[in-house]
């Protein structure tokens, strides 16, 4: 069954290397049609449909299979909303090489022509093969190709062939498909003005040469949010001084789109410019207004001092496109009956995209997804095609969907394959489960969580031992018992990485059956747990640490408030309460010890929305309250995490999954130190300990909120904490917690990192068996990379969700004036924080149609003088909050200064409120 054929290849890699490879042509590859008797069972795996559904094509009314050529497939595959990588798709397309369809490259025939011929031979073979199969229901294979020559030749050889466009147009059943066709054919460009706007992209080989010789630089293209004619390129490499290159002007941007990997050429120093501080949005309706763009470009070049000039360059070529489908809205073309429209993405860094659709009127005012197909040299905008309709703008579901998509949060319901790995209900603990497991059901365990929490992953207990010491246990849901390594459930949760909490919704990492039932440590049911048990003396010194898999039966699930009440009320003296009191006492000692070591107590304004139970609209905002019990639970979680981190690192020095928090570089603290100085306070930042101390001492008797503000600022100075694999790094320190080693162990229901840590610990104590991927540090570090990315994205999505709900809240509330504190001072604006809502916003002092006020900015003290009034950091001001819905796609909270009053900047509060309100309403009406 093996036939062999040998080809000789010569490649040049330094010297001449002769490569001889053999290729076995197979005679056992089936055609894939299930009804085919000739190759019965020869081909397992994905098969063709037995009776191709009637596609109702006017070109070929009989049943048929399609055989698209490689290029068609590559270009159209994105229509199916699949953010896959091209390389992997392309490599899959390698045909396995069947004996009958194999052809050799002929003399003088290039590789492309050979491939085309191969496809034709395959189509021919298929047609003849299927003819053999059954005479009565004639199945046919139709070749789909966009290559004219290929098509002609195919028709000559008697193979039915069409171009992609012809075929899709002939599908009478679903006419909307044509919109989703990627427009690539050259004909579509003819309508555009023949004028070439952009210079040509250099081919990859030239780029690589240029990068090697140093004449070009390779980097990631980052478009500016504020100015569509400006972008920066982050150079990959270690040269510190040239990290960022400025690109200005449409021609220099040369069709690069945000996140592309590009090659840039540095311009001579005489052409260097400074980043403009002007906000510019692309508003051109017409495609031919390139001249106007040039004018705008000139406007960018304001007079600047030598010092501000930055390395400037131009994009000469694209190394790798990083296009993905974009969310946004359609801006309907002004011309009636026109099928070409511009699409405005939600992300301002993405240029507008031209799409062709017949359903413009239905798509107007809706959020849609569009994929980019290409950007020809003579077009002002890239070409794209419509992919999916998400729903109406402003609808809560649509907006949530958009923010999930934009932050790349996997949020589809769990697939059947994933769900099939869930335990069967009704579930109970069996003998088998009890192996390697300790029965701790007799212990008085309870859980303390925020109200309304359904995924309880931790519970605690504390009891006095006969020798007078205390036994403290932290019990964590044993998720790794249910999620076995390598199965679909495991892969899916690894992909999701974390549960994402939005204001009104939770995107689970594991299916609900596990997260809210089997793994949730609810009261009065037997649950499997992973316990970390310490023996401590009354000074909270750990005498013994022990880890075990266990079964627990929680006696109570309390909220923070309930637990606090039990501790405080003298009347309660039951087991749970004494246990809580013991825990609380130890937690206080632990916290003191931790702070003495230099752990930071930072602050960030956190808010919670009170939701209307029916409409799910936010009714009220509330900043999170902190009780003693919050910090009690936190202390023991930290302790458990640290203990586990030590244990797994001891056992697996090369592949423990840990979490570190690098110390920020001193320059990060500049803002904080300067701000404190303006209030005559000194903040020391040389070590975490001194920072913590100086933050504690930074009190101002007549300004109690100052300390919180300082802590908020300090939080902004910090670096991001990250997961890493211990074998790949040697700095383990967690700066914020002042711990030499740290990991995440306590929330396996909502974080995948914890599941891996559970598995490592289970192996370390001999409670579970290991598996290959667990001890592969490269795989582990890949997992870490994904987890860090997902965590970051989840955080952004959470913030975006809060922002959206804040908008909804203020929409219902109308215009309000609130007290605020200045957090930062900028050149033309101040950033303020409203403690009542935990809301941060920017007050601009320059507006488009108004005369510019006199602004003097002092970088040293951070202060801004406006027409005689000076603003310092931490000054108290009063601002008016309104919802600005002039831009449908980007509704935002707008803040305006009310107090102190500066003539020409703000308007007296009462009268203006009415005024603005009125005019605002009118305007909205007009808009409609």
């Amino acid at each position: 069954m093996l036939k062999s054929k040998t080809f000789l290849k010569k490649t040049r890699a330094g010297g001449v290397v002769k490569i001889v490879r053999e290729h076995y042509l197979r005679d056992d590859i089936g055609c894939g049609a299930p009804a085919c008797a000739a190759c019965d069972g020869a081909h397992a795996g994905p098969a063709l449909e037995s009776q191709p559904r009637d596609q109702a094509s006017s070109l070929c009314p009989w049943p048929h299979y399609l055989l698209p050529d490689t290029n068609v497939l590559l270009h159209q595959i994105i229509s199916a909303w699949k953010p896959g990588t091209w390389a992997s798709v392309a490599s899959r397309l390698r045909p396995p090489g069947s004996l009958e369809t194999y052809i050799e490259q002929e003399q003088g025939e290039n590789a492309n022509d050979r491939n085309d011929r191969a496809i034709r031979v395959a189509a021919k073979w298929y047609n003849e093969h299927l003819k053999k199969m059954s005479a009565e229901n004639q199945l046919q294979v139709i070749l789909i190709t966009n290559d004219k020559k290929n098509k002609e030749k195919a028709v000559e050889e008697g193979i039915p062939a069409f171009t992609c466009e012809e075929y899709v147009k002939s599908l009478t059943a679903n006419p909307e498909l044509i919109d989703r066709l990627a427009c690539l054919s050259e004909e579509t460009n003819e309508i555009e003005s023949g004028k070439i706007i952009f210079s040509e992209h250099l081919p990859l080989s030239k780029l690589q040469q240029g990068i090697k010789s140093g004449s070009y630089l390779q980097g990631t293209f980052r478009a500016s949010r504020e100015n569509y004619l400006e972008a920066t390129v982050w150079i990959h490499g270690d040269k510190e001084e040239e990290k960022e290159i400025l690109i200005q002007g449409l021609k220099h941007l040369n069709r690069a789109i945000h996140e592309d990997i590009v090659a840039v050429e540095l311009l001579p120093k005489s052409q260097w410019v400074a980043p403009s501080s002007v906000v510019l949005h692309d508003e051109g309706e017409n495609e031919d207004d390139v001249e106007r763009d040039e004018e705008r470009q000139l406007a960018l070049k304001t007079a600047v001092s030598e010092k501000m000039l930055r390395p400037t360059g131009r994009v000469v070529g694209i190394i790798k496109r990083n296009w993905r489908p974009y969310c946004g809205m359609l801006s309907k073309s002004g011309i009636k009956e026109s099928r070409r429209h511009l699409f405005t993405p939600a992300d301002k860094r993405i240029p507008r995209i031209r799409i062709e659709t017949r359903q413009a009127s239905t798509l107007e005012g809706r959020r849609i997804i569009v994929a980019v197909d290409g950007w020809p040299r003579n077009s002002r905008y890239p070409n794209g095609h419509f992919v999916k309709n998400l729903g109406d703008v402003g609808e809560k579901e649509t907006e949530t969907e958009v923010l999930l998509l934009e932050h790349d949060v996997p949020h589809q319901p769990f697939s059947q394959a994933v769900l099939s790995f869930l335990p069967k209900m009704p579930w109970s603990i069996t003998e088998n489960d009890m192996k390697n497991r300790e029965d701790l059901r007799h212990l008085c365990v309870c859980s303390v969580d925020p109200p309304g929490c359904t995924d309880i992953d931790d519970a605690l207990h504390c009891r006095e031992l006969s020798n007078g010491n205390l036994e403290v246990g932290v019990h964590i849901a044993d998720v790794s018992h249910f999620i076995r390594p390598g199965n679909a459930l495991d892969q899916e949760s690894a992909r999701r990485g974390t549960t994402v909490y939005l204001c009104e919704k939770r995107i689970d990492m594991v299916p609900e059956l596990l997260s809210s039932n089997l793994c949730s440590l609810r009261s009065n049911v037997d649950r499997l747990a992973f316990s970390c048990i310490w023996e401590m003396n009354h000074n909270a010194e750990i005498l013994k640490t022990r880890f075990t898999k266990s079964v627990i039966n929680s006696k109570a699930s309390l909220t923070y408030a309930e637990a606090q009440m039990r501790i405080d009320s003298a009347a309660m003296n039951d087991d749970i309460t004494t246990s809580l009191r013991g825990l609380n006492k130890l937690a206080k000692i632990l916290k003191k010890g931790r702070i003495e070591k230099g752990a930071l107590t930072l602050s960030s304004p956190e808010v919670r929305f009170h939701m209307d139970s029916e409409t799910h609209d936010p009714i009220d905002l509330q900043t999170k309250e902190l009780r003693e019990t919050n910090s009690m639970v936190e202390e023991f979680m930290l302790l458990a995490n640290i203990s586990v981190a030590k244990k797994i690192h001891e056992e697996f020095s090369e592949h423990a999954l840990l979490r570190k928090h690098p110390a920020p570089p001193p320059s990060n603290y500049e803002i904080l130190v300067k701000a404190a100085k303006s209030k005559n306070l000194e903040i020391k930042t040389d070590t975490a300990k001194s920072l913590a101390d100086s933050l504690d001492q930074a009190e101002c008797p007549d300004f109690p909120y100052l300390n919180t503000l300082l802590r908020i600022l300090a939080t902004r100075c910090m670096m991001q904490a990250v997961y890493f694999c211990s074998g790949m790094d040697n700095d383990f320190h967690h700066y914020g917690l002042a711990s030499p080693i740290y990991t995440h162990f306590t929330s396996p229901i909502r974080r995948y990192a914890d599941i891996i840590v559970h598995r490592l610990l289970a192996v370390a104590i001999g409670a579970d068996s290991t598996y290959p991927e667990l001890t592969d540090k490269h795989k582990l570090s890949d997992i870490c990379k994904n987890l860090n990315f997902r965590h970051k994205m989840a955080q952004y999505a959470q913030r975006a969700s809060v922002a959206f709900h804040t908008q909804l809240f203020f929409k219902s509330k109308g215009i309000v004036s609130e007290e605020a504190y200045i957090l930062f001072v900028r050149k033309n604006a101040i950033v303020v924080l409203i403690p009542k809502y935990g809301l941060e916003g920017t007050v601009f002092f320059e507006e488009k149609d108004k005369p510019k006020p006199q602004l003097t900015y002092d970088d040293e003290i951070p202060s801004l003088r406006i027409e005689g009034t000076v603003f310092h950091v931490f000054d108290k001001v009063k601002v008016k909050i309104t919802l600005d819905s002039s831009n449908l796609q980007h509704q935002k909270i707008r803040m305006a200064l009310v107090e102190p009053q500066i003539p020409g900047i703000n308007i007296p509060p009462e009268v203006s409120d009415m005024d603005l309100n009125g005019s605002g309403r009118k305007k909205r009406k007009l808009d409609k």
């Binding site: 093996l2 062999s4 040998t6 010297g15 290397v17 002769k18 490569i19 001889v20 490879r21 053999e22 290729h23 076995y24 042509l25 197979r26 795996g45 490599s91 899959r92 390698r94 396995p96 090489g97 290991t770 598996y771 290959p772 001890t775 592969d776």
Partner: protein, 245 residues
């Protein structure tokens, strides 16, 4: 995985084989008249030549003679033109020495050395073209050569390599697959008894997978055995016809 896709989704390898399939094997015995035994084998593009002299008196220093069994002396060399890049010296480098040692261990386990005390058996192997699995090809060629020389053995020694990619064990690795850098296992088996004459593995492989890879290599070695057995029988038949029986 970056780089080459060694195993496609459809289960085909780069050269079109499935995971458990061997390359095409062709072998001939008795290729040289002056040697006591000789054989030539092709496993895909890997080509090896083996000659055997002996058993004969100890050559060189007599002190090497073993009182209770024969001395097996193995030498491995690979032709300068055998690999893509030309080599300087055909033998004497570290790799050749190691290979010689491995061959010696393999054949000491298979040849009934106690039948020829104080004598020496020389096995010389040369690789003419290397395309992965050189050790296996050498062992298989040498087995045929030893048989051709009429030296009594316990059994055939059949060798094959196996690798591990994406949860699947691949048998009989080609050069491309070897160069990808995954774990690689070489196994020499005495097929009748199932005893292992030599087992060697490069790079790390998780314990859980070992059995699977080992089984793949053993199965491949048994497949090699059927082929070699056929070659030997055919050779004997031809020889007996020539002798006029």
């Amino acid at each position: 995985m970056a780089g080459l896709e060694l195993l496609s989704d459809q289960g085909y390898r780069i050269d079109g084989r499935r995971a458990g399939e061997l390359r095409k094997i062709q072998a001939r015995m008795g290729v040289f008249a002056q040697a006591d035994g000789s054989a030539y084998i092709e496993q895909g593009n890997t080509k090896a030549l083996a000659v055997v002299y002996g058993p004969h008196e100890i050559r060189g220093s007599r002190s090497r003679a073993l009182p209770d069994r024969a001395l097996v002396n193995c030498q491995y060399s690979s032709a300068t033109f055998s690999t893509g890049e030309r080599k300087r010296r055909p033998h004497g480098d570290r790799k050749s020495c190691e290979m010689g040692l491995q061959l010696r261990q393999t054949f000491e386990a298979a040849i009934l050395t106690q039948l020829h005390p104080r004598s020496q058996i020389d096995i010389y192997v040369q690789v003419l073209q290397a395309d992965g699995g050189t050790y296996a090809a050498c062992v298989n060629a040498a087995t045929l050569a030893v048989m051709d020389a009429g030296i009594p053995m316990r059994d055939f020694v059949c060798a094959c390599s196996a690798g591990f990619v994406d949860g699947t064990a691949l048998s009989d690795l080609s050069h491309v697959e070897e160069a990808a850098g995954g774990p690689q296992l070489a196994l020499a088996l005495l097929p009748a008894s199932g005893q292992i004459a030599l087992l060697e593995m490069d790079s790390r492989l998780h314990e859980d997978h070992l059995e699977q890879v080992l089984e793949a290599a053993a199965q491949a070695a048994r497949d090699v055995h059927t082929l070699l057995d056929r070659v030997v029988r055919q050779h004997v038949q031809e020889a007996s016809i020539l002798l006029g029986d």
